[in-house]
Symmetry: D2
Subunit: 416 residues, 4 copies
């Protein structure tokens, strides 16, 4: 165990659950310091009320308890900017866990500055990406902050030690929490991820224990209704603003897309990903609303975005996604990429009609006052400003460098 550093006041990212309750107590014991709890509503679907009572019961002063509803900020300032980029990590993952971490870290640091805390603490384990995402963000925003990562520091060996510690300190242990959970869950308004134990064999399908658990985010495609659902998503400057003509705020909109997606079996993803810390891990991710949003955004871009802008975005996207995955939200290079992406979204305004059916999202139509789709140019028999003769020159000059090389090869008797 690391020797505890001198800490006066620490801001703990606190859910009120067993693990962070143990951490709270452990901080008080180990560091002998004042603990400030910070509980955020990012749409994870848990009641936040009990967190206050539990913190009070653990001896946290009322003025040291912070409970914030960050749902709109989360979607407006983090989720939407990311979706402008059509970000997918390793071709498939919508970054649902990754994108929540910088906001939590940012608010934690704001609270630390407010209450004069010199340390922050999170409950992420020592093998995952979340520790990196939290801590890199902490350091970027408050470079001298002391970071406490209990899972890397304490001497507990496995679940039984933790439970014993909780018992010893009178921490409430909910039914079923005594055993190691068969899988761990992280959730926010964008998605739910499940990892661990029963999911660790990548050659076994996601068990019903996970895919059909009571609090799942989406149903399986097989359970979805036999009739498709049709919706229209409206966009303004790259962000979704309405469903079926009704305006929604950011969080409400994502919530409604979640409801529609979940009802139709959309957004379950079984994947193996490469962690920043170097190993591969397997997870089951549920992102119903985000999956719909991704397809809708691509579709509205397909008629409003210039080709050069789209191709540049596509080439920048994997790096942008990796930056978010790696916790690099508050870096100059992420901001540079965001500036480029945002500069492309001025005309990404219009409506996309979608069919949602048994896990699938199918584009049925797109329209925009800013559309670059030009029916006159494309119609097989119409003129409309396009002269077919131009194609010859276009082709010949595009091919010129290849002809020059071929002439050379002929001259040299080369065969490729």
């Amino acid at each position: 165990m690391t020797t505890p550093r001198a800490v006066k006041k620490v801001v703990l990212a606190y859910s009120g659950g067993l693990d962070t309750s143990i951490i709270l107590k452990w901080l008080q014991e180990t560091y002998g310091c004042e603990v400030v709890t910070f509980t955020a509503d990012l749409g994870q679907g848990e009641e936040l009320g009990p967190a206050r009572a539990k913190a009070l019961a653990a001896g946290v002063k009322p003025e040291n308890i912070f409970i914030d509803d960050l749902r709109d900020e989360f979607v407006r300032e983090y989720v939407f900017p990311m979706f402008r980029a059509n970000a997918l990590y390793e071709g498939v993952y919508l970054l649902g866990t990754s994108i929540a971490r910088p906001l939590i870290a940012k608010r934690q640091i704001e609270i630390a500055n407010l209450v004069g805390a010199d340390a922050v603490c999170h409950g992420a384990t020592g093998k995952g990406n979340d520790q990196v995402r939290f801590e890199v963000s902490y350091y970027a925003l408050k470079p001298d902050v002391t970071v406490i990562a209990p899972w890397r520091e304490w001497s507990f060996q496995g679940r039984p030690d933790l439970i014993a510690y909780a018992r010893k300190h009178g921490i409430e242990i909910a039914t079923g929490k005594e055993q190691e959970a068969p899988f761990s869950i992280d959730a926010n308004l964008l998605h739910t991820s499940s990892e661990g134990l029963v999911l660790e064999d990548p050659n076994e399908p996601v068990p019903d224990l996970v895919a059909k658990r009571a609090d799942r985010r989406t149903i399986t495609p097989e359970e979805a209704p036999d009739q498709p659902t049709f919706i229209t998503v409206g966009f303004e400057r790259g962000d979704a603003v309405s469903i079926d003509g009704q305006a929604y705020g950011p969080a409400a909109l994502l919530g409604e897309l979640n409801r529609i997606g979940a009802a139709n079996g959309v957004g379950g993803l079984d994947l193996v990903e490469n962690r920043f810390v170097g190993m591969k891990s397997r997870g089951y991710y549920e992102t119903p609303g985000g999956t719909i949003l991704w397809h809708a955004h691509r579709a509205i871009e397909s008629i409003t975005l210039d080709r050069g802008a789209m191709h540049l975005k596509d080439e920048l996207m994997p790096r942008y996604a990796a930056l978010i995955y790696n916790g690099m939200w508050f870096t100059p290079e992420r901001k540079m990429l965001q500036a480029a992406i945002d500069a492309s979204q001025d005309d990404v305004t219009g409506e996309v009609r979608l069919k949602i059916y048994k896990g699938g999202v199918y584009v049925q139509g797109r329209s925009s006052p800013y559309s670059l789709y030009n029916k006159e140019l494309i119609s097989f028999d119409a003129a409309g400003g396009y002269n077919q003769k131009d194609a010859e020159g276009f082709i010949k000059l595009n091919a010129l460098r290849l002809r020059i090389a071929a002439w050379r090869d002929q001259r040299l008797g080369k065969n490729d």
Copy 2:
């Protein structure tokens, strides 16, 4: 009309259909030259037999009629290398039409060299990408060849002129071909594309006339069976080699994936894309087997590919896809990217289990003797070579540059 250049012998990409039959006659009349017909089986699903009879009837000499089965070469040398890259154009298009063009062009040039022809001719229109793909490939392989593009050259104005010309020259006009087709189709073993007229309003869904036509490639998700189909796809060094343990040659394997995908409503795609010649166009593409293959290849890579290799591939992919879309297969830069991609596939060997259900393809498991997934490292309580303490140093040095900037900003009293 362009003044005809002096041409002695021309190799025509000839399907035997109405359009290329008109072109054949037009070539004979306009250029007064010997015409060599080349008909390729790329798995488009048409009988090739009649092409010979029609060519003979049109006065083509028997030794000038070439009919080749290129299906295995197509899949082995073009489709598979492209799938090693997980290529998607503009995020969604599997490049089914694009990838067939360089092979047709290459074979056409080989025949031209064989028979001593000085010209080649294709039936692509003057507004599309295919003219570019054909002609850039022609020039790259035979830089002095004369390229004849009838649709850019002749003086016919619309369908009635063509039909009149066909009548005048006794060219057989199949029932229903007198009118402008309500949409045009291109097909090969990888996919079928539909474009034009009834598809030209991007705000209208694909009509049943297209989506449910008799010779469609895939059914709609709604029509698919209520029971999922489970398959296992085997890979060796990046290429699919077996289904459910049974080995297949390249074309047979893709054919079998097409059959499975089509039966389950997989692979229909309604999109608006950016053409190389500068306008947007809308199409409906059916790629049942290719869609399955894309997911399977991603899944086997997810356990066998190093993170650095995967991320580099992901960043190179959009450019690689655009090169193929733009007809740049025979360019040095496509070959360079292929060399990089191929260098990553040595260990992409193993099996992927898939559930195919109502248009969706869901990974159920992946296994490989070359797997980099390491259960010991990931298990929450096991040690296995990973020391959680290392994470602290990893994070701190990754954050160091951001801390330095934050210290500077503090010193300067800057707020971002």
Copy 3:
């Protein structure tokens, strides 16, 4: 010769020299239209006064003569943004000609809109990049404009035809202009380029005829003084603002750097480049001030730019440079890249000390209030916030994926 289209009024990019004087007359004769002349001072070093007299003599109405000093706009809005990117085309070329074209085109279109002209005309040849740069910019800014490119249109065959035409129309022919020039020159405040004839053998050095001509931009290194010159260049937010502590406006600053560079033999470049139209060409470029500015900007970035920002900039730069080279200044993708680049320059403020000596530019020092260089961290024996122990974890996790692969290879008995 192309059939002349109906044109009412054309804005001609007019230098007053022989070639554009012939074009002026040819426009009047061929198109029978009103000609508006536009003469810009971009620092090419020619007197603009005579242009007015010549235009009047050629029958251009006084209100149709535009003479603009664009030097500050050129440097502020085009040169400086480009230097923020450290742009080099093909590793060596500072894009001196390329960057002037969009400004000329933009102003030409502004004048066309002002005077109600329906056409624009430039004097660039049909083989070069400049025709593309001019015309792509015209079309981007005024999509229905008629573009007249005399060198691609008229029927003159070579120099004698042009001279005869000039004689016939009483156009003044300066001494020495009757013959084909042994090389052609383009100049602006950023650079001078020489191309053609005597430079066409890339295996022969630049002849003195070019390198030592009377109006050259820079001397040769051998001719430069034996004593170095020392200067300090000040930057604010990425742009140079002062020399040796004295503030300069954009054009004046570049002019002063030109003077210093030229006096010390800086900035001569003999290169072979790849044109956008497909062939290679050879040129001799002189960019004395720009060469100094490039080194100075790199140096101030070296202490003020974060690593992630710098590396991203370096990776984006070749594409950004190619866009400018290809005339794509007014494209969405160039603007996106500019947004990214500009977002990195907030703290690129400070001073760079340089030694200029016999063609070389050597950094002697850099300082900035925004410096990220941290002497305490780097000093071999000081602590200063860096814990050497962190390096172990950093290295181990960076190596983890490679170890996993190596363990696998060991297990399989593989040797790479």
Copy 4:
């Protein structure tokens, strides 16, 4: 101090100098293990003979002393492949130190496998890049190896402790080595780097103490002769093979270029760079031969490389350079990039003529049997296969997307 791990036999990268002599003794004392010394000649210019005697004197068994001349392998397998990429880190650094590390590490691991050692040890400090480069390579090649990094482990505080330890153990202390060196040096055949103390203020020029030290690699430009030197460098498939028509092996060729460059003041570079571990550092690097080689390779590529290949190379280069800088030579992504780069070099054969003068390298000519430079195409009045009329279509289709956007903006009354 870290608790010593159990080690039986360790291979030490050993120069015979004071620092590695102390390390040798410290290893014997601390780990109580058998020490194997490995001394490599990479062209650093030191005599290797004394290393054997010193190792023997320190108690190393004769069979445990390895002294290898790796100069040709170094240039052939590391330097030349890197120069094929025109690699520059952060726009200026030729990666002279970085590129030597993977070879040393590889040979160290080979020896470890040969002698059955379970550990390796290097003398790099805990703040620099070299520790990363060594250790990442070790782990990639022998994942279970124990890595000993004395500078991160031992408890010596500064120079006096080290000297005292040396005295106590009878280690020879050369004159002037008792004090902290005013700067530290690393050298190999490609370059010499100087860092530390007297170089730590980035606003002060490199002092003569460094730039004019007795064993410097290159002289200053001011000291160089007043007459230029002219040489011709021959290339085959991307690698330099001759100077002035005389064939050289890899190491001999680089040595000769070093001689020529050094005599003319080429290759001194004062820079501030971003270290992988997160801070900026300042150095003075001398790379005379490499600087000449970089210019020569660019020049031969300028006539033999296709545009698409060159631009792709230029875009990949910064990442390739950063991989080498960061010690990632033995990674899949570096090998992928190398495969792409190498695939471009087949025709990079020919000769480049250079003028070397007072620190500058100036291309005077380039020729190649594989040249793609086509004088006929470029000559202003010649036809040669290029039809100027083609440019119109080329431009129009390249501009089409921009016109479509402009038409839309007109329709909407938008101003950008």
